[in-house]
C-alpha cells in the first residue's frame, strides 16, 4: 500500500521527541516502546497496528505515559474492531456474510451507522458515491488476475448490480435487494474507524494526538503554537507533495488513481464511477478535509467522480468541508474551505 499523506513540516512535538530521545520511565509503567518525554515534560506515546490492509499509527501526547499508552491501545482496538466488522476480505465479517448471503439480521450498530451515512451520501451525490460497487471491483480484480481488461458487456453486467437504492438498512436487518449484489465499505469504514479512535482518545483525556492511516489523517484539539501539518502525496512524483495542510481539528482523507491501479496507464483503478462502471477519466487525486473521518473518507470518492461544479455543490452540504483536486495533467484546484497552506 502506497502512502498518500505524510506528516511533515513543523511537527515540533515529534521533532523534539526525536532529538531528545529521553525515554520516560517506560519499564516501570509497561508503556509500549514508542514513549518519549517532550521538552515541556509531557509524554509522547506512539503505537501502531495493521488494519484495513495498511499501517495505522497514533501519536498521542499526555501527562501520564501509562494512561496515554492505554488510550492509544484502546483507539487502535476500536480501529481493528471496525476493520474486522466491515472488511470484505473475510467471509466471517458482517460485510462478508452480507455479501455471501444477501441478508444480515441483527447488524452491529456501527455497521448500521456507516451504511446509513453511505446511503445519505449516495442520495446527496446522486449516486456518485455508492457502496454497492463491489461487483465492479471483483470484475476488475478477476480480469487483472487473468491479465486482461474487462469487456464492455462484462462491465455493463456488473454495473447492473450496482444500486444503492436496493440496499435496505434498518437497525434490525440489512439486505441486498438483488441476487449477486455486494457492498464494500473500503471507502468509508476507515474514516469511521478514525472517528471512533479519536473519540476513544478524547474520552481518555488525550487532547493532543495525531492519527495516521496512510490515506487518512486526523488530529485532536488544535495547538495554536504547534500546528501539525500533513502533506498530500503527489500522485506521480515519489516523495513529493502537492500541498501541505495544517491540521485544524478536521480529518483529512485522500483518494488517488495511483494507489490500486488495474492498468499500467492508471486509467482503470479502484475508484469507480457507479454511473458508468469505469474509473473517472479526468482526475488523478482528490483530498478532502471534513469535520468527521467518515465524511472526509466518503467524500473523496464523489470528489474524484463528479465534475467540479457539482463536487463543489456537494461539499457545501457538509459543514466545514474543503477539497483539493489534481487532474491527470497535474493541474491543482482547491476549494475555498481548504485550510490555509493548501495549494
Amino acid at each position: 500500500m502506497r502512502r498518500r499523506i505524510f506528516v511533515t513540516g513543523s511537527l515540533l512535538a515529534l521533532a523534539a521527541a526525536w532529538g531528545a530521545r529521553a525515554r520516560a520511565g517506560r519499564r516501570a509503567t509497561g508503556a509500549p516502546s514508542g514513549a518519549d518525554r517532550l521538552p515541556d515534560g509531557r509524554i509522547l506515546v506512539r503505537d501502531a497496528a495493521v488494519a484495513f490492509g495498511t499501517t495505522v499509527s497514533i501519536a498521542a501526547v499526555g501527562d501520564d505515559p501509562g494512561a496515554a499508552a492505554e488510550a492509544t491501545a484502546e483507539a487502535l482496538d476500536r480501529i481493528r474492531g471496525v476493520d474486522s466488522l466491515m472488511t470484505v476480505y473475510r467471509r466471517d465479517s458482517q460485510v462478508g456474510r452480507l455479501n455471501a448471503e444477501g441478508v444480515l439480521s441483527r447488524p452491529d450498530r456501527h455497521l448500521v451507522r456507516v451504511l446509513e451515512f453511505s446511503k445519505r451520501l449516495s442520495a446527496l451525490s446522486d449516486g456518485a458515491f455508492d457502496v454497492t460497487v463491489q461487483p465492479l471491483w471483483r470484475l476488475f480484480v478477476a480480469c487483472r488476475a487473468a491479465g486482461r481488461r474487462p469487456s464492455p458487456d462484462e462491465v455493463a453486467a456488473a454495473r447492473s448490480l450496482v444500486d444503492w437504492t436496493a440496499l435496505e438498512v434498518t437497525p434490525r436487518r440489512v439486505a441486498l435487494g438483488r441476487r449477486g449484489m455486494q457492498i464494500t465499505l473500503n471507502g468509508v469504514a476507515q474514516g469511521y474507524a478514525a472517528d471512533l479512535a479519536m473519540d476513544a482518545l478524547r474520552q481518555r483525556g488525550i487532547r493532543d494526538a495525531l492519527l495516521d492511516a496512510g490515506e487518512l489523517g486526523a488530529e485532536g484539539e488544535r495547538q495554536p503554537h504547534r500546528p501539525w501539518t500533513v502533506g498530500i502525496q503527489h500522485p506521480r512524483v515519489h516523495d513529493a507533495v502537492i500541498a501541505t495542510v495544517a491540521m485544524d481539528g478536521r480529518f483529512l482523507a485522500t483518494s488517488g488513481d495511483y494507489a490500486t491501479a488495474f492498468s499500467e496507464d492508471l486509467a482503470d483503478h479502484h475508484i469507480f464511477d457507479p454511473r458508468t462502471g469505469r474509473s473517472p477519466p479526468g482526475l488523478s487525486s482528490a483530498a478532502v478535509a471534513a469535520a468527521s473521518g467518515m465524511e472526509a473518507d466518503g467524500l473523496t470518492k464523489p470528489m474524484m467522480v463528479l465534475e467540479l461544479a457539482r463536487a463543489r455543490a456537494l461539499l457545501a452540504r457538509f459543514d466545514g468541508a474543503g477539497a483539493i483536486w489534481m487532474d491527470k495533467r497535474g493541474r491543482v484546484v482547491a476549494s475555498e474551505r481548504m485550510p490555509p497552506g493548501a495549494g
Partner: protein, 719 residues
C-alpha cells in the same frame, strides 16, 4: 459436519488409542510478551499488539524528519506457536523469528531448546552462529542445511545452503524445518503469499477412498503425473547458454527420450496402496503423522532424482517442491525398494519424500516439482550449467476433501439439498402424525407388519446410506466441545440432514422418549432390525437374556456415555478414539469400506444384534443413553395401557423384544423403541387377552400373585 471434520480416521478404537499416545503434546503457549519484545526491539522500532488470529506481532519502524512516518517492517513470531516440530528431546525448539514484509528473514534467535547436543556437547555459541545465517535470506529460496559437496555443486540464487555444525546435523535440520514451516505460515497468512485465501483452510487427502488401479490408469486419472523429455527438448532448454552442445548423446539422438519423470502423492491410498509394496506402505504410515504428505518420485532414463553423493533421509539435492511460488521442504523417507515388484514400468530410481504437515502444503492446489539437470564443462575445475525440469502436480479433486473455504455458506447448502430436505421433512411429518395417532397405524396388525419394515428401509437407505443423516454421539460431543470453547454452533447448520434430525430427535425425546429416534430414525438401528427380520424369516434362533441380566447390562451404555462426555471435556484427542465404540461410521457413513478391524466390529455388532435383539442399541449405544437421559424430561405416558396390563396380563411384556415393559405392565420409556408392538396388541381383539375375555363376557382369575419379574401368571376362566 462433525463427521466431515475428521476425514479418514480409519483406525478402529484400539489403533487410534495407540496412535494418539504417540502424538506430540499440543503446542504450548508462547514465551514472549509485547513488553519483552519492546525491550528486544527498541526505538525506532515499535512492536504492536499481538495479532488476534495469527500468533505474530507486527513490528513497525518510525522514521524521523522530514517525513514522520510509521511503516510496517514485518512480523515477529515464535516458531513453537506456529510450527511446533518436536526436537530430539521431544520438545519443540522455540525460535524467535523476524520476517519482513517481503518474506526475508531479518533475524532468527533461540528462545528455548532442549537439544542435548547444544546443552552439553558443542554448546550454544555454534547454534547462534548457525541461526545468524538466516539474516537476509528469502523464503522464496530453497534453504537447506548443506553438506559441503551439495553446496559446492548446487548453490545459487534459488538454492541456499546453511553451514552445518558437526555432530548436530539432525538437530539443525529440525530447527531449519521449524523456522521454515513457521515462516511459511506467516507468509501465507499475513504477507499475501496465499493469493488472498485463508491459508489455514487447506484441502486434505481423503484417506478413506481406495480404488484398485493399474499404473497406466493412475497416470490417466492424473493421480500420477508424467513428464517426458526428449534429448531435443533438453538441448533446447540449454540453447543459447554455455551449457548447449555439451551432451554428445543428446545431439546424436535428438528424438530419444532423455528422461521419464513420474510423481504421485503416495499418501493418497489409491496411489500409495496400488504402487507401494505392502511393507513400504506400512513403513510409510509408521513414519508419517496424520496430515503429512509423501510424494513418490520415479525416474527412468538419463536424469536422476538424487545425485550419487546423496545421503538417505536428508533433503533431496536435485529435486525441489514449490507451491504458490514458495518452496516447501521435502525429506527422503528412506523407503528401500518402495515399489511393488511388478505392475509398473522399470524405473531406474524411485524414492518417497515426506512433507511434514506443519509445512501447510495443500494437496488440492497445483504444486511444482523441479528436477535439476546439470551439465559440466572441463575436467579439472568443471564449469556447471543447470536447468530445472518442472512437473506440475495436483491431487485430483475427487481424492481430496476440499478446504472448508470452498464449502458454501449454510444457506446455499440448504438450497442445494432442498429435494433431500423436502423428502426428510415429509417423512418426519408423516411419522409424527402416525405416532400421534397410534391407533390408526395399528388398527390392523397387518398394516404395521409391512409399514414398519418399509419405514426402516427408508431410514437405512435414504436417511443413512444416501443422505448421510446418521446421528451420532460425535454430533453431541462436537456441540459440547464447541460450547466449552465458546465457539458458535453454526457448523451444525452446514449439514442440513443432521441439523433437522437432531432438532426433531431432541424434540421427540423430550415429548415421547428416545424411542422415536432409536426405533424409527436411526439408520444403524434400522440395519440391525432388518437383519433380525431376515434372520427370523430364515428361522434362525433368537436368544433372550433374563430380565435380571438385561436390567444390569442396560446400565453399561450410561457408563460409555459418561466416559465419552468426560473425555470430550478434557480434549478431542481423548474422545476421538472413544467414539469409535459406535459402528455407525463404518456401517452407515462409510458403507462398510474401512479397515478390516472396523468392518469386523460393525458386522459383529449387527450379528450380535440378530441373536440378542438390537443388543448394541440397548446395552452399549452412548447416543441412546444420552437420549434416554433427555427422555426423563418427558411429562406424559402416551402409550395406551390397561389396568389389567401386568396385573395379571403379561402378554405384551413377554412379546416386547426390547424387554422394556416391567412386571407391573408399565412401559420403561428409557428403553422403549416405540415399535408399536404392544400398541398393536392393545388394539387387537384377537391378541389382547383382557380384550378377548371382555368380549366373551369373561374376566381374569389369577391362580397366584405375580412376584415382581417372574413370568408365572396363569390364565384361567371362571365358569
Amino acid at each position: 459436519m462433525a463427521r466431515a471434520e475428521r476425514p479418514g480416521r480409519t483406525a478402529p478404537a484400539l489403533l487410534a488409542l495407540g496412535l494418539f499416545l504417540l502424538l506430540p503434546p499440543p503446542a504450548r503457549a508462547g514465551l514472549l510478551t509485547r513488553e519483552e519484545l519492546g525491550r528486544r526491539f527498541p526505538a525506532p522500532y515499535l512492536v504492536a499488539e499481538r495479532d488476534k488470529e495469527v500468533p505474530v506481532w507486527p513490528i513497525f519502524k518510525q522514521s524521523g524528519p522530514p517525513h514522520h512516518t510509521v511503516d510496517l517492517v514485518g512480523y515477529v513470531f515464535e516458531s513453537a506457536d506456529l510450527a511446533p516440530v518436536p526436537g530430539f528431546s521431544g520438545t519443540p525448539v522455540d525460535l524467535l523469528v523476524v520476517l519482513n514484509v517481503n518474506g526475508e528473514f531479518l533475524d532468527v534467535a533461540v528462545l528455548s531448546h532442549h537439544e542435548p547436543v547444544f546443552l552439553g556437547g558443542v554448546g550454544e555459541e555454534p547454534l547462534r552462529a548457525f541461526l545468524g545465517q538466516y539474516q537476509g535470506l528469502s523464503l522464496k529460496q530453497n534453504i537447506t542445511v548443506g553438506s559441503g559437496t551439495a553446496r559446492a555443486r548446487h548453490a545459487g540464487a534459488t538454492n541456499v545452503y546453511l553451514d552445518g555444525i558437526a555432530k548436530a546435523t539432525a538437530s539443525l535440520r529440525i530447527i531449519n524445518q521449524s523456522v521454515l514451516s513457521a515462516a511459511l505460515k506467516v507468509a501465507r497468512a499475513r504477507l499475501g503469499f496465499s493469493g488472498g485465501r485463508d491459508p489455514d483452510l487447506i484441502a486434505h487427502v481423503r484417506t478413506d477412498l481406495f480404488e484398485p488401479r493399474t499404473f497406466p490408469q493412475l497416470v490417466s486419472a492424473g493421480l500420477v503425473r508424467h513428464l517426458r523429455l526428449r534429448n531435443r527438448d533438453l538441448e533446447k532448454a540449454f540453447a543459447g547458454s554455455e551449457g548447449a552442445g555439451l551432451d554428445p548423446v543428446a545431439i546424436e539422438k535428438p528424438d530419444e527420450t532423455f528422461c521419464d519423470l513420474y510423481a504421485g502423492m503416495a499418501t493418497v491410498p489409491t496411489v500409495g496402496r496400488n504402487l507401494l509394496a505392502d511393507a513400504a506402505w506400512k513403513l510409510m504410515n509408521a513414519r508419517t503423522q496424520e496430515g503429512d504428505h509423501v510424494l513418490l518420485v520415479m525416474a527412468r532414463g538419463r536424469c536422476r532424482i538424487v545425485s550419487e553423493s546423496f545421503q538417505r533421509n536428508t533433503v533431496p539435492d536435485l529435486l525441489s517442491l514449490r507451491q504458490e511460488g514458495l518452496p516447501v521442504e521435502m525429506r527422503d523417507l528412506d523407503l528401500d525398494a518402495p515399489l511393488k515388484p511388478a505392475g509398473q514400468p522399470d524405473f531406474d530410481q524411485a524414492m518417497a519424500f515426506r512433507v511434514i504437515f506443519q509445512a501447510g502444503l495443500d494437496p488440492g492446489r497445483p504444486m511444482q516439482l523441479s528436477a535439476r539437470v546439470t551439465r559440466s564443462k572441463g575436467i579439472v575445475y568443471p564449469e556447471r550449467f543447470s536447468r530445472d525440469l518442472v512437473l506440475d502436480y495436483q491431487v485430483p479433486e475427487r481424492f481430496v476433501v476440499p478446504a472448508a473455504e470452498d464449502q458454501k455458506t449454510w444457506v446455499a447448502t440448504w438450497r442445494d439439498r432442498w429435494p433431500e430436505i423436502a423428502v426428510l421433512v415429509a417423512a418426519l411429518a408423516f411419522l409424527t402424525v402416525l405416532l400421534a395417532r397410534q391407533s390408526r397405524l395399528v388398527a390392523q396388525a397387518r398394516s404395521l407388519r409391512w409399514f414398519r419394515p418399509a419405514f426402516l428401509a427408508f431410514t437405512l437407505l435414504f436417511v443413512g446410506w444416501y443422505a448421510q443423516g446418521q446421528l451420532s454421539i460425535v454430533n453431541a460431543v462436537a456441540l459440547l466441545q464447541a460450547s466449552i470453547a465458546w465457539r458458535s454452533w453454526a457448523f451444525f447448520l452446514y449439514d442440513p440432514m443432521t441439523a433437522i434430525l437432531s432438532a426433531y430427535t431432541v424434540a421427540t425425546a423430550v415429548a415421547w422418549g428416545r424411542g422415536t429416534f432409536c426405533g424409527w430414525l436411526c439408520p444403524f438401528g434400522a440395519l440391525q432390525e432388518l437383519a433380525a427380520l431376515l434372520a427370523r424369516l430364515a428361522r434362525l434362533p433368537r436368544l433372550r437374556l433374563s430380565h435380571a441380566a438385561d436390567a444390569r447390562l442396560k446400565w453399561v451404555k450410561y457408563a460409555v456415555l459418561l466416559a465419552i462426555l468426560l473425555a470430550a471435556v478434557v480434549s478431542a484427542r481423548w474422545s476421538d478414539p472413544l467414539v469409535e465404540v459406535e459402528p455407525f461410521k463404518t456401517a452407515i457413513t462409510m458403507h462398510f469400506r474401512r479397515s478390516w478391524a472396523a468392518v469386523a466390529y460393525a458386522a459383529g455388532t449387527v450379528l450380535v444384534g440378530v441373536v440378542f435383539f438390537k443388543a448394541f442399541c440397548r446395552y452399549l449405544c452412548p447416543l441412546g443413553a444420552l437420549l434416554a437421559v433427555l427422555g426423563h424430561l418427558r411429562r406424559w405416558d402416551w402409550l395406551a395401557r390397561r389396568v389389567e396390563c401386568g396385573q395379571p396380563c403379561q402378554t405384551c411384556r413377554s412379546r416386547c423384544e426390547y424387554q422394556a415393559i416391567d412386571a407391573r405392565g408399565g412401559i420403561d420409556y428409557t428403553e422403549c423403541f416405540q415399535c408399536m408392538e404392544c400398541v398393536a396388541i392393545y388394539n387387537d381383539d384377537a391378541q389382547c387377552a383382557p380384550r378377548l375375555l371382555e368380549k366373551r363376557g369373561k374376566r381374569w382369575v389369577t391362580t397366584g400373585s405375580p412376584p415382581g419379574g417372574e413370568d408365572l401368571v396363569v390364565l384361567g376362566t371362571k365358569r
